[in-house]
Symmetry: C2
Subunit: 307 residues, 2 copies
């Protein structure tokens, strides 16, 4: 379990539903802080229309401030081949291409039909190959859609096995509105693992199942999972979406080998500061507990090692 | 997964940390309401010292108001053989006997050492056998102790395999202060399943892992799990303890076959009323979501069936 890669998505999914705009220099500082705490990899923003998602407008300014070693640990999200081109030109080394399995959410989220998104993905993958940049596909609404209800497993498998998806680095199964339950997550993850090389899970804690779903995914074969500080985040084009699974809860549960108690408490404190700065509520129980009664935190009681 | 028995413990663990006293007639009404919603089994109180846990003082008055068919679905908690005797005399048909694996918490919680508790358990089991009443043993601090840190697995196994435990109906592994993580829960549950016939899991959501731990236990062989409305509860003699795993979250995640969408929404509404009545915060994300945006609730979207 503690070999699972945890990707922090605070700077992308975390900020995209927040009304306060975070200054670019604060974003750059947060990237450095998170990596310094030991997080293996981060999503630092999205190359999307600034009129649609203003909080992501400065993503390439953030990227421009990062050195190549730092960029090796960063991802950005793109919704089309143009975004992929801009990201590669800006020096990104890893790209997440998003499309929704459900047609109506794809239309609402990226403004085109699924076929067009798949064509764009093929172009992005070709471009990535040319530049040695792996392209990952994120399948939004892989479990349920705010407009269409439950997404059929066949629809997900049809996308995953489409020839235009063949060259992707990995597939991220996204529970966009947090409505999936562990049995559904385990079942779909296992089914997709059979046809895709590398499966990731991106969950939301809207209905209290973020951590349980994360473990269900990992138990069924997912190699990496997304989370955000304080459970910030949600899709602006999916009614009812709210917080990502909280990074503090996921790390508390997984206890990865790179995480020291000191780094954990630094993350908790930084998360609380960030939420205060943005005027957002904390959705992390583990962070709330660690803040409310630091003396009762098990990592405070344990001497030294987090395990 | 949806064959797992869910036991509601609102009226016992849920109320024992609450300062407001719930009138006896409200408790009786809540027992009937929960059973009417379809919950297979409930813990309705504890036979303990009223000066130590005032909110449980009227447990046997609640029991006296219940008919035999209702009592067949109810449990009470007892801390010693005297309590077991009083419960049986009052007509209880199932008894949970609590002891803590860690000596210091056993002292704080039930006022004696573990050996004395085991002697009392043997007496309670003998008494139960005489009257055809199954006695279950709840092992508090099976994972971590607020005074002693992590509980060694060997200590748990030593209790479970003690000859005085041989006659119990089932063993409940209790994460008394909610500090266990899924890997720990899965490991200990599997180990205890090897030596005990029937293993239950009782979790708390203090650190955000209530549902994830519940699924870890079930995945490792637990046949039943505890939860409470709105995540009410916590041990008054365990510093740092707070809410049980919320019933609304567990049911949302497990979707047991007996649960209709209508019953689910009734439970959510009753939970919100109860928390308001007691002046307690909701710790259920699923209930919060269902209350905040009922239209986006997946069971509201789905026509008819909860699955």
């Amino acid at each position: 379990m503690n070999d699972v890669v945890v990707r922090d998505v605070t700077l992308r999914d975390g900020l995209q539903l927040v009304s306060a705009v975070m200054p670019t220099k604060h974003k750059i500082e947060l990237v450095r802080f998170l990596l310094d705490c030991g997080l293996p990899t981060l999503e630092v923003g999205a190359v999307v229309r600034p009129d649609r998602v203003p909080s992501m407008a400065d993503t390439l300014d953030v990227v421009a401030a990062l050195d190549p070693d730092t960029l090796d640990r960063c991802w950005v999200l793109v919704p089309n081949a143009t975004g992929a081109r801009r990201a590669i030109d800006a020096g990104l080394r890893q790209i997440q291409y998003v499309l929704s399995v459900s047609p109506s959410h794809n239309k609402a989220n990226v403004g085109c039909d699924v076929e067009q998104s798949l064509d764009g993905l093929a172009a992005a993958v070709a471009l990535g190959r040319e530049h040695g940049v792996p392209v990952q596909v994120a399948l939004a609404t892989a479990f349920t859609c705010p407009f269409e209800g439950q997404t059929p497993e066949d629809a997900v498998l049809a996308v995953v096995t489409d020839s235009r998806v063949a060259g992707v680095d990995s597939v991220v199964l996204c529970d966009t509105i947090g409505q999936a339950v562990p049995a559904h997550v385990a079942g779909l993850t296992a089914a997709v693992c059979e046809v895709a090389g590398s499966v990731w899970f991106h969950g939301h804690d809207t209905w209290g199942l973020g951590v349980a779903n994360t473990f269900a995914a990992v138990g069924a074969g997912a190699v990496a999972v997304d989370a955000s500080l304080g459970g910030l985040g949600g899709c602006p084009f999916a009614p009812g979406a709210s917080g990502n699974t909280a990074l503090e809860d996921v790390l508390y549960a997984l206890r990865p080998s790179w995480l020291t108690p000191t780094a954990y408490h630094r993350l908790v404190a930084r998360g609380q500061d960030l939420l205060a700065e943005l005027g957002e509520p904390s959705r992390s129980r583990a962070a709330d507990g660690a803040t409310r009664s630091p003396g009762s935190h098990p990592w405070a009681l344990a001497a030294g090692s987090p395990r």
